[in-house]
Amino acid sequence: MTPQETVERALALPGADQRVVIVDEGSTANLRFAGNTLTTNGVTRSARLTVISIAGSGVGVVSRAAVRPDQLADVVAAADAAARDAEPAEDARPLVAEGSDADWDDPVRRTSIEVFSGFAPALGECFATAEASGRRLYGFAEHQVDSVFVGSSTGLRRRHDQPTGRLELNAKSPDMTRSAWAGVATRDFADVDVTALDETLAQRLDWAKRRIDLPAGRYETILPPGAVSDLMIYLYWSAGARDAADGRTVFAKPGGGTRVGEELSTLPVRLFSDPARAGVECLDFAVAHASGREQSVFDNGLALTETDWIRDGRLTNLVQTRHSAELTGLATTPQIDNLIMESATGGGTLEEMIAGTDRGLLVTCLWYIREVDPQTLLLTGLTRDGVYLVENGEVVGEVNNFRFNESPVDLLNRMTEVGTSIRTLPREWNDYFTRSIMPPIRVPDFNMSTVSQAN
């Protein structure tokens, strides 16, 4: 039974007033390595049917994996029964009626281990080079293709095929005291130059041969695009309109309401999402398997378009459903699976920002980022795999790691320079979010709260 047949059969069964049917099909291939050798690998397939039944304004959701044709009616009946037994859903709205894709009937697209047919030999050569040069390579390469099919009783028939690939490469000295990391996001691994990445890491390990111990404190700091993406993704995940309106987040206005319209940065920065942005193309309609604070099953199929979250330094929109938009009086702006930050005035490259630094720190990436205080969105975490001291425009050595305590909202207000935005891979969050375009930024007083002994 194809996903399209599953959708049509589930919708055709008698029972609930209305239904939304979602079929997710996925395939993955991965290679993991440590110490210049493979450690684990695998290929997988998955298939999931989610039936959202609506009876009056009650909703029932049942989701099952690997459903056989003879089990379909039972899944639908379970969702129908749950809907009949449910209280009225407060997010109930008319189902989205419009939308169909010309490739609806096309077969499911899949990946396989062959996606690494060019990459794996190149990686093997890097292992040999690294071994001969006294480096050890660690990392992970993964490719997946996720297809989603959404149909509804109101005639909606949307599908999306999303390829997602990522490579993390980490080089270490044999005694593990020096470490450097690089990561790339890709759609198909054809554009991944693992040899060039390895050469970059070799240069960074060379930088680390001179070790400089610095105490905790506030430092002028250059954050590269990957580190900026980790901070801004957390900000984006904390930008729910409902939570802000309920007074629970940094975007709540004291005394009631939200901070939409408020200036967060004096620099002309823009933080936005755009499903059509080249290189980070993503799902252009809403998919919700269950309702929650920032998504509604009734919004399934809602068109997603270019959306500003911050424009000209000012908070413009918060993440929300049609229901929460009515509560807050703001536009309906559901979450989109990419994030872009740009400066309206352009900016220099990371290398140019290093060259323009008298004395400061260059961070490679941030790690174990967790929220300390939702009121300010204070986050804590660690620097990792390379903190370098820059003096007179050049890297002069590697510095110890630090624990930081900083709020990305506060950083928007304190940053003094925003560089050129590039496609990047967030280090911390790339299990969940890989599509980002970010600039490097300069912060005059980044709070390195304490020294971490970790290498």
């Binding site: 993955t28 993991r32 440590a34 050798t37 493979l38 450690t39 684990t40 690998n41 695998g42 290929v43 997988t44 397939r45 998955s46 999931r48 959701v61 049942v62 989701s63 099952r64 994996a65 690997a66 749950a82 037994d85 449910a86 407060e90 281990i113 690494f116 292992f127 660690y138 992970f140 993964e142 993390e168 490469l169 980490n170 270490k172 593990m176 309920d246 007074g247 709540a252 269950a290 604070r293 790690w367 174990y368 300390v372 205080d373 009121q375 204070l378 804590t380 660690l382 990792r384 790691n401 624990r403 305590n405 709020s407 506060d410 007083d445 709260s449 304490t450 971490s452 002994q453 970790a454």
Partner: protein, 497 residues
Amino acid sequence: MREIDPDFLALPLRRLADAALTRARELGAEHASFRLERVRAETLRLFDARLEGSIDADDLGFAVRVVKDGTWGFAAGIELTPEAAAAVAEQAVTVAQVSAPINREPVELAPEGVYADVTWVSAYDIDPFDVPLREKVDLLGDWSRGLLGQVDHVSASLMQVKEQKFYADSAGTITTQQRVRVHPSITVMKSDGERFDDMRTLAPPVGRGYEYLTGTGWDFPAELATLPELLAEKLAAPSVESGRYDLVVHPSNLWLTIHESIGHATELDRALGYEAAYAGTSFATFDQLGELTYGSKIMNVTGDRTAEHGLATVGWDDEGVQAQSFDIVRDGTLTGYQLDRRMALLKGLGRSNGCAFADSPGHPPLQRMANVSLRPAEGGPSTEELIAGVDNGIYVLGDKSWSIDMQRYNFQFTGQRFYRISGGKLAGQLRDVAYQATTTDFWRSMDAVGGPHTYVLGGAFNCGKGQPGQVAPVSHGCPSARFRNVRILNTVQEGGK
């Protein structure tokens, strides 16, 4: 003792296993295992006593893992037919062959006995999936309505999981297991117009059934009744003055510190560098086994997969190794690691202590955490007696924010409630508190552990590790304990305010 659900046993478990293992043998695999799993999870969330969303989802599929010419090969499938199982076995062998050129370390596994057709079911009374959704929503709604009016908002959630696993390997072991876990949680929120704050129940997630919500193992009505007043006090509490304080830490907070600074630090795969690019390594390197002074002499830590109601408790692990209990820290010294079969053999440690786990049929087993627990002191003090021994300190309850570096040295934790201790007595709540320390400094500063009556089994459903990422449920038992001269931060000042 409950039995494994008949509808799981009715799946073609043995036919698929036989097809996969036979095909793997035909293709020359030195070792092969077959694992079929169904993991059912239901989550419901209420806000201000109204159902916000619920989903009842399962994951069903199978996996074949082989060792072929010394290289792992893993593949997973979803069609429950012997033909598909054999095809997935072929895929696993192909993956091993494609990967062989980049493998320089032949895979060998520690020996383990053969367990021919054994079963195990966790300890629970009421299967949460036998309880109608409406009944659960009504219960959480009643709890929420009892709090509204005293606080601004109430958030309630209930996560329930039933995990069923069938495992068979080429040595002849066949295990069939079923376990259940639940995690109810209530958070209350309040604002004074300028600041807002929240407070969550301390009730831990447990390996029990629905009876946990109705009086067995926790008194929810009693805990909920205290929350509004505690939150009001927290909102009005003075901000902490940063500096160094003695701490008394309740098990509801200490479990997470154990998890991060001992549990992960004593995973042998981490200590050997296999997680170096992602989760990280460990300061507790293998050369320090038997030598490292991890903590004070009163520190005794065990790993186990046997504790009743423990979230990491099983009968056999995902490599067919029988569940065990073992020492990790004895009298303050590092004495053991958590192992899977490959790690055990690699370092000549003999038998695996049974810590292999895969979170779904689509993922291979990794070395995952046992229930890692701090032992109480026989005849040891009560929490009140621990507090009485502090002149200027802070009493910490409940977990909240956590972060630790990639070698498990430097950590920072917050909590649900912090009380000032002055002259051996509690002197009201404090806010904006975080404690920050280096792992060995912290555990070496522990000068007293509570007695068995202070011992609580805490834990989490969602411990993350590995690439592709996997989550594992795990429990950590501990008594209340006292630590001297720990660095306390004021989180508002840390934010530059």
